[in-house]
Amino acid sequence: MQFQFSEEQNELRNIIQRFLEKECPISATRSVMDSAAGHDAALWQKIGANGFLAAAIPEEFGGAGSGYLELCVVAEECGRALAAVPTVSTVYQAAELLQLAGSHAQKAKWLPQIAAGEAIGAIALQEGIGEMIPERVTAHVRGGKLSGGKSPVADGLEADFAIVMARDEAGGHSLFLADLRNEGVERTFIKTIDPSRKHAKLHFAETSVEPLGESGQGWRLLQQVRDRAAVLTAFEQVGGADRALRMARDYAMERYAFGRPIASFQAIKHTLADSYVANELARSNAYYGAWALSVGSDKLPIAAAGARVAATQAFQLASANNIQVHGGMGFTWEFDCHLFYRRSNFLALTLGGPALWESRLIERLHADMREGEKMI
């Protein structure tokens, strides 16, 4: 049994960590927060140039073809570094949808650019408040032209292309690929709970698009890819949660009250222990997701939902506890605690919130139980 990362994968982790320590200090993320930018463009290009985004993209299309486990490592480290980069949209979803359903031409055009950090792809699904369900899709395509509004669209502000869920002429829910430099695209900036990760409202008016995948398969494809993205995003959350716990620990060791480090008070010790427990549970569930993703297991839907639910809980707890342990300093803008708190609540809702994934997890475990299958 090797239910952990290999030595090679851990070596990769060290390389990425060193890279991000240098290229992505918190000040880099703060610069994005304070600017009009939706992400850290310089960092994104460097991450791409170093090949970190290419792990799960086949060599044929400019990727490294190393695999999903390597991508999980990248995700965890990006999460730890609080990198303001469009991984969730571009790498975990757009690249995966292209691989899953794209034509050869579509893959050949976009995958190499993604692998190199030269293109951003957005996923345009949501149309306002509420869990997205098929009945809520009003965007539609007629004669190759897309019309309708999509909001919120993660990274839509600076994306080069978008993969859009819309009704096709047959009334089916299908995916379409829109080059966002085409005519008829209007982008509006929207603030999110995490100012380092801004979103957009996209309005399409007769924008030329091409179909991505078969007609009527949009929902199925998207769900498949969201499971993959859930695992990878869980690693970002685990990385962030781990860092938030370390921050809290370090501060508690260094901050004195009543003549002793506050880390010696049980109230603080137990708060941090609770974060640690949640983080370990999240990490272990994320590993199962990584395994399922890497071997293409039919347990992926269960593993993805479990990883997602556990990682969301852990990061939300660790980042809130981090503020609490920092006391007054923790609720100043100047200290970095709120960046993790914001990111944790941002990632909790990306790909749909806790209620959605909790429900999915149990639905899937139930289906699995009825089939009488074993976990592995």
Binding site: L125, Q126, G128, I129, G130, E131, M132, I133, E135, R136, S151, P152, I190, K191, T192, I193, D194, H199, E254, R255, Y256, A257, F258, G259, R260, P261, F265, A267, I268, Q316, A320, I323, Q324, G327, G328, M329, G330, F331, T332, W333, E334, C337, H338, Y341, N345, F346, A348, L349, T350, L351, G352, G353, P354, A355, L356
Partner: protein, 415 residues
């Protein structure tokens, strides 16, 4: 049990209501009703101007500083009358936010420890809003451990020369005077080497700098003190008696009798009654939503009814117990929970600050940030639990590493 006033209370309430009806700035009522933060943030008018105007009006009619004696400009109301007054004052009470610390803490401290002359000179002006006061106790390294003050005051002739840094001071930029605790002898144990002063906030060497909070609000300030000279005549209490004076101030921190501590439940209930979570299905009809809301509901109503119990005790002439210490502990963490719950309901759109339907987004982001902050401000959750454990349940104090140790030998992170 009843919610009725006694005849005396009813008469008093009628009098208060009539006066407020005739005198309050009703044009501000709606805007005041939306105030969330501790700091007054009116947009239609200058907040300080509005605050001073209302304070002056109350002062002229004898309604200002209800808990102060008349000789200093107060209304000298009984505890239950104060509650009735504040119920009737309603949203207009927010207009007094700038004077909250001055009236609630600084004034009573001056009354207890100031010279006759200081009291006569300063208190009526503070009551009427002509002058305002702030309070400088906390420091970057003296938060929960409030007595670990490092700001140093050294005697120089008839003056004291003060150097150090204070933090979490509300309305410092609007204050004319400030209460200041400083260390005058670092070789004594922590609580014994402190002395209390008051100073002109426009003294040379006083620099006030606002603190940006995670909610992007600025309710508090940092204050840097560099060679600030304070006349010894502005000392309150003896040299080394500062902690005793500070306790007077802290004990006057007005017990929270507000009947509307904002847990966010009301907002969430309304939000759920309007939000469709599936086609034709309102959130409020979902069992998960109901279960979560129910716990928020009983915390919210529990705080409101606990306040009623305290008011009843006042009405009966009893002192309300330390039970009110549960209030902030409950509402701050509930607000944080409600926020996450409300955001989750909206799916991915929950992360938007400016949603498609701005009026319907529930303001949960603000609650998320404010809840996290309020779990710390005015005593962390951990400090509040300790207070309940020790003062209400009578459990022993924590073991102390700094007891009877000269302050300059107490272990700190700096060493």
């Amino acid at each position: 049990m009843n919610f009725d006033d006694t005849p005396e209370e009813a008469a008093f309430r009628a009098r208060a209501r009539t006066w407020i009806q005739q005198n309050a700035p009703h044009e501000l009522a709606e805007e005041l009703g939306q105030e969330g933060a501790a700091r007054l943030t009116l947009k239609s008018v200058d907040p300080m101007t509005a605050a001073r105007a209302w304070q002056k009006k109350k002062s002229d009619a004898g309604w200002a500083t209800p808990h102060w004696p008349k000789e200093y400009g107060g209304a000298d109301l009984s505890p239950i009358e104060r509650v009735i007054w504040s119920q009737e004052e309603g949203v207009f009470a927010s207009l007094s936010a700038p004077f909250f610390i001055g009236h609630g803490m600084c004034g009573p401290t001056l009354m207890a420890w100031g010279s006759d002359e200081d009291k006569k000179d300063r208190l009526p002006r503070l009551s009427s809003g002509e002058e305002n006061w702030c309070q400088m106790f906390s420091e970057p390294a003296a938060g929960s451990d409030l007595a670990a003050v490092r700001t140093r005051a050294i005697r120089d002739g008839d003056d004291w020369v003060v150097n150090g840094q204070k933090i979490w001071t509300s309305y410092a930029h609007e204050a004319d005077w400030g209460l200041l605790i400083a260390r005058t002898d670092p070789t004594l144990p922590k609580h014994r080497g402190l002395t209390m002063f008051f100073l002109d906030m426009r003294s040379p060497g006083v620099v006030v700098q606002p603190i940006r909070q995670i909610s992007d609000e600025t309710e508090f300030n940092e204050i840097f003190l560099s060679d600030v000279r304070i006349p010894d005549a502005q000392r309150l209490g003896n040299i080394g008696q500062g902690w005793e004076v500070a306790l007077t101030t802290l004990m006057n921190e007005r017990a929270s009798l507000a009947t509307g501590a904002a847990t966010g439940f009301g907002v969430a209930l309304k939000f759920c009654s309007e939000l469709e979570i599936a086609l034709g299905k309102l959130a409020i009809d979902d069992s998960r939503v109901r279960s979560r809301l129910a716990t928020f509901a009983i915390r919210d109503s529990g705080l409101r009814f606990t306040a009623f119990r305290n008011i009843s005790a006042l009405s009966r002439g009893e002192r309300p117990g330390p039970e009110s210490s549960i209030s902030k502990l409950v509402w701050a963490s509930t607000m944080q929970d409600v926020a996450r719950f409300g955001m989750d309901l909206q799916g991915e759109a929950g992360l938007l600050d400016d949603s498609e339907q701005p009026s319907a987004d529930g303001g949960f982001h603000g609650m998320l940030m404010r809840g996290a902050g309020m779990r710390i401000a005015g005593g962390t959750d951990e400090v509040m639990r300790n207070i309940i454990a020790e003062r209400v349940l009578g459990l022993p104090a924590d073991m102390r590493a700094d007891k009877d140790v000269p302050f300059d030998q107490v272990p700190t992170s700096a060493r």
